[in-house]
């Protein structure tokens, strides 16, 4: 039944696209609604960014099509793949492997030290620092790193914060000291830490099964934010707290926490929570691998069913049709009106794992390639 409904919706959407394709006037989506949920027959479609996607695969020199993470450093693009760390520079790909000192072939996370230009790569076998072409790797055997499976990394000043499969840790680059954070010294109930976002004031950890962990750098106090509904996957009290305890990613920007879980996403301003589910937002899926906030009101969500952008009121989704694989972009306004916008390109795959920004452009890590979204003006 649900399948049928989706097809019907899709057919209507395509029809609407055919009628109104010519109405698109700029890089920001501007089309008439294809499926006005609110019953209105004429609404203004929000202007949300429209991209022309160029996709990179192994055929172009990408080390592997499975891209876990992407990082932009000016004109240089770093891709953490399942088979090495790729660097795209000057139109060419260069691959760093374990032969170069990379801790493991599978690179799960990336962070840039903006002051030095060093890139930190979290891998399945440790943490690697790429500096001027030289790689120094830290593992649980040769250093104080808590565990070799490094899901997340974030650089703040002289500290490198690391999310691992056995707790979180911090490396002080000036003293060389490792500090470990786990169930013994924090409110962490589970130690499977999936993501970290560090600033000079606060550090947030996305903990799989243990919610969101906050470390106040000034007071050195820990706070745990978890789902008020407990382990129940039903949302009994919306916006009363974190949407779910299985947190996969966190992004702290402009004093706002954006948290991604496998059962919806959350925004927290220090006082109020706002949660996002497919049923009441533009999210294409509640299963979110990664979130990156642009600022307090804008964020990107990387889900298993496409890439979503939220501008504080409206949503844009960049995906591909499951049946035809043709690219699809939809826009959902604040009232819930959904409009399909004609596009000729889309991300390489619907399973989105990461994103970073290059000016107005985006770079997207997917399960089947790396995508460069070039803003259309």
């Amino acid at each position: 039944m649900k399948k049928f409904a989706n097809k019907k919706w899709l057919a209507m959407a395509l029809l609407a696209v055919a009628f109104f394709a010519a109405e698109v006037r700029s890089g920001f989506a501007q089309a008439n609604p294809s499926h006005p949920r609110g019953g209105s027959t004429a609404v203004t479609v929000p202007r949300l960014p429209r991209f022309r996607f160029e996709n990179y695969t192994t055929a172009d020199g990408l080390p592997d099509n499975h891209v876990y993470a992407v990082l932009v450093d000016g004109d240089r693009i770093w891709a953490g793949t399942n088979n090495g760390l790729g660097l795209y520079e000057g139109g060419k790909w260069k691959t760093y492997t374990t032969k170069d000192g990379l801790a493991h072939r599978a690179v799960l996370s990336l962070a840039l030290d903006k002051r030095t230009g060093d890139v930190w790569a979290g891998t399945m076998g440790g943490l690697s620092r790429v500096s001027g072409g030289r790689i120094v790797s830290y593992t649980q055997l040769n250093s104080g790193l808590s565990n070799d499976v490094v899901y997340g990394v974030s650089v703040e000043g002289e500290n490198v914060w690391v999310a691992t499969a056995a707790g979180a840790c911090r490396l002080n680059l000036h003293t060389g000291e490792w500090s470990l954070y786990n169930e013994r010294n924090t409110p962490m109930r589970e130690i499977w830490v999936y993501g970290v976002s560090a600033t000079a004031t606060k550090v947030y950890f996305a903990v799989w099964g243990s919610g969101l962990l906050e470390f106040n750098q000034k007071t050195e106090r820990w706070d745990l934010y978890d789902d008020p509904d407990g382990e129940n996957e039903l949302v009994l009290f919306k916006d009363q707290g974190l949407i779910h305890d299985i947190v996969s990613s966190v992004s702290y920007v402009d004093g706002i926490v954006w948290a991604a879980t496998y059962f919806g996403d959350s925004r927290y301003d220090g006082r109020y929570w706002h949660n996002f589910l497919t049923k009441d937002s533009g999210l294409p899926s509640n299963f979110t691998n990664y979130v990156k906030g642009v600022d307090a009101n804008h964020a990107w969500f990387c889900t298993d069913k496409g890439l979503a952008y939220y501008d504080g009121a409206s949503w844009a989704v960049y995906t591909r049709s499951l049946s035809s694989h043709k690219p699809v972009m939809t826009v959902r306004d604040a009232k819930g009106n959904v409009t399909e916008v004609p596009v000729t390109s889309g991300p390489a795959h619907n399973y989105i794992l990461g994103i970073d920004f290059q000016g107005d452009d985006i770079w997207v890590a997917t399960a089947e390639g790396l995508s460069h979204g070039i803003l259309q003006r």
Partner: protein
């Protein structure tokens, strides 16, 4: 853990026995029944306030000569023509590096034991500011725009980027291990950094201690203050000063090329070191390594490099050979471009090569280090560190025209004679090596050596640091030497020098010097010597006598038993389970813990790259202390404590 039988005597020990006996019979060393005693070996030596000039600099107008004096801890300012003293500015402890601002109005001096930079106003000759930097600052340079001051930190192996006006640290860049010397390219675009210890191997292969060392020249973009390149230096360990020609087309760096993978006993076969330059830049294309050694005499321990403004000559100080090499650059380039270049890019093994480009070897004083060439290239100033003199070389005759004596004690103490011996390659076959070839700046070299003439790859040992080693006999990893006179005398003479023995007074002076080597300040101890919470927890683990399951830990399996006392050694031999098939014995003398954080790699053969690996990899049976009950947090705490020792 098993204690060494008191009566056991290793093969090496027997060798030492006969060696010592032979020394007593033929070399005049007093024989005392198993131990060699140098004359009055327990005397401490007289500490005199020598200047020990390490670096020299000329002002942009060539009017002044700045002399950095490491032991008297000051900068002497001399008239560069009359050599009259114009002033003297006290700086911090153990200064090591010096650089002028582009305008010449400020002189930056790094104080390696204080972790600071003294900023000297060259008009008033006073210290205008003192800036905090990283651990053990060494080289320093200001960029051409006067925006940043770069400081190479030897212990933290990084380069601090400071605001050139306020001294505020903006960031630190990853450099090679033991970052030490910096040079600014003439066009001001690049800063080049070198380092004195080889980088740790990036991958764990189990053969880290049997692979050639790797070093680098770190290339920094002066504008963005980011590392933009790293020029690899294969088989190099110990990289010192670097110079760039005025036209920017030729770079040269002084370096050691150790041959630590073959037995050191092969010294007479050229088996210990090649002393080389690596050249880079447009004049040479791909970087190329060229030897400085000659067929029958080595160019031991190159340190300072200067290139004449017209690129006609290149000068290198040889710290161990007590001389300066003058190299004809056109001949050098001709050699490089006409000889088939080895695939490795290195001519280091060709002892006939230097005959093509070495123009002269100019004898100077003891342990020549820094050098400065006048703007007209007619005078070359050389700091003779262990003579308290400056040699002024007339570059037209390639002879010392004048020797400037710096103010200070005129007598040469036993301590100073010992230090001169330590740094002089005079005693070894073809003057190849001295103690300081491996104990760089009286420390260590981060290498593992095949010392004994017992076959290739047998009994590999890690080089230890010398600081604070008095009164911890026996010596050697296998405890085979009962005292320092034995260690430094017959053992060194027989196995290392292969040429000339010390007389007993020389040996006494040498031992006196080595015994005087104090530990540098420990950087991980908090002010007041209290411990941080992590160090406190680690200390408790170090001292514990019961494991986490409540089971008593046998005495010989406690950290605090073997590593007891102020230096962290009970001076006894134990088997900690690290014996390799290529080791003659598993019994090893407990090493001291003084500044243990600096001295990696670890274990007797350097197989553990880090302190962590001692226990995460090389202690599977808890023979090296009871540690396998510890969590990762606790092991980290233990290491934090060890770093305070």
């Amino acid at each position: 853990m098993s204690r060494a039988p008191q009566s056991s005597r290793t093969k090496a020990g027997l060798a030492m026995f006969f060696c010592a006996l032979a020394g007593a019979l033929f070399c005049g060393v007093p024989w005392t029944g198993g131990k060699v005693r140098a004359a009055a070996s327990d005397r401490t030596g007289e500490h005199l306030d020598y200047a020990s000039p390490l670096e020299v600099l000329l002002s942009p107008d060539d009017a002044r000569l700045y002399v950095l004096c490491q032991q008297s801890e000051d900068v002497r300012v001399l008239d560069a023509n009359s050599y009259e003293v114009m002033g003297r500015v006290a700086v911090g402890r153990v200064p090591r590096g010096m650089a002028l601002s582009r305008a010449g109005d400020r002189l930056f001096v790094t104080n390696s034991w204080d972790d600071t930079v003294s900023v000297i106003d060259t008009r008033t000759l006073t210290v205008a500011a003192t800036w905090s930097v990283g651990l053990e600052p060494s080289g320093v340079v200001e960029d051409a725009a006067g925006r940043y001051v770069f400081v190479a930190n030897r212990i933290s192996s990084d380069i601090a980027v400071l605001d050139a006006q306020t001294g505020a640290e903006e960031k630190r860049l990853l450099a090679g291990r033991g970052a030490s010397y910096l040079a600014l390219s003439p066009d001001g675009k690049r800063i080049y950094a070198t380092h004195i210890y080889p980088n740790l191997p990036p991958l764990r292969t189990g053969l880290e201690n049997r692979t050639p060392p790797e070093s680098e020249i770190t290339v920094i973009d002066a504008r963005s203050a980011e590392v933009v390149d790293r020029i690899p230096l294969h088989s190099i360990a110990g990289v010192f000063h670097l110079a760039i020609s005025a036209d920017g087309r030729l770079g040269a760096v002084a370096e050691f090329h150790p041959k630590n993978l073959v037995p050191l006993a092969h010294l007479e076969h050229g088996g210990a070191f090649a002393y080389t330059l690596t050249l880079f830049g447009a004049d040479v294309g791909q970087p190329v390594e060229i030897p400085l050694d000659e067929l029958d005499r080595y160019a031991s321990q190159p340190f300072g490099v200067a290139i004449a403004p017209d690129s006609s000559r290149l000068y290198v100080t040889l710290g161990g050979s007590e001389s300066v090499l003058a190299i004809d650059v056109p001949h050098l380039l001709h050699f490089i471009h006409t000889r088939p270049r080895p695939e490795s890019g290195s001519f280091a093994q060709d002892l006939s090569a230097s005959g093509n480009y070495v123009a002269a070897r100019i004898p100077v004083g003891h342990n020549p280090r820094g050098l400065a060439l006048s703007g007209d290239a007619r005078k070359l100033f050389v700091a003779n560190r262990l003579d308290d003199t400056i040699s002024v070389i007339d570059t037209s005759t390639l002879r010392v025209a004048t020797t400037i004596a710096l103010a200070g004690p005129k007598t040469v103490s036993a301590l100073r004679r010992g230090e001169q011996t330590f740094y002089s390659a005079h005693y070894s076959f073809q003057a190849q090596i001295s103690c300081s070839s491996c104990h760089i700046d009286s420390t260590f070299d981060g290498l593992q050596w095949d010392l004994e003439p017992d076959g290739f790859g047998i009994d590999i040992v890690d080089n230890k640091m010398l600081e604070d080693i008095k009164d911890i006999a026996p010596y050697k990893w296998n405890g085979g030497n009962p005292n320092l006179p034995t260690e430094c005398g017959p053992r060194t003479e027989k196995y290392f020098w292969r040429s000339e023995n010390y007389d007993d007074l020389t040996l006494t002076d040498l031992v006196t010097y080595i015994r005087s080597l104090a530990p540098r300040p420990n950087r991980w101890r908090l002010p007041g010597h209290e411990l941080s919470p992590a160090q406190e927890r680690g200390n408790a683990l170090f001292e514990r006598d019961v494991d986490k399951f409540g089971k008593p830990i046998p005495l010989t399996n406690r950290c605090s038993y073997c590593h007891s006392g102020p230096k962290g050694t009970n001076q006894k031999l134990f088997d900690v389970g690290t014996r390799k098939p290529t080791d003659s014995s598993g019994l090893l003398k407990t090493p001291q813990l003084t500044n243990i954080a600096l001295t990696g790699p670890y274990l007797h053969d350097g197989s553990a790259r880090t302190l962590e690996e001692i226990w995460t990899i090389y202690n599977p049976e808890d023979k090296h202390g009871r540690t396998n009950d510890l969590t990762k947090d606790e092991l980290n705490d233990l290491i934090e404590y060890l770093r305070t020792r």
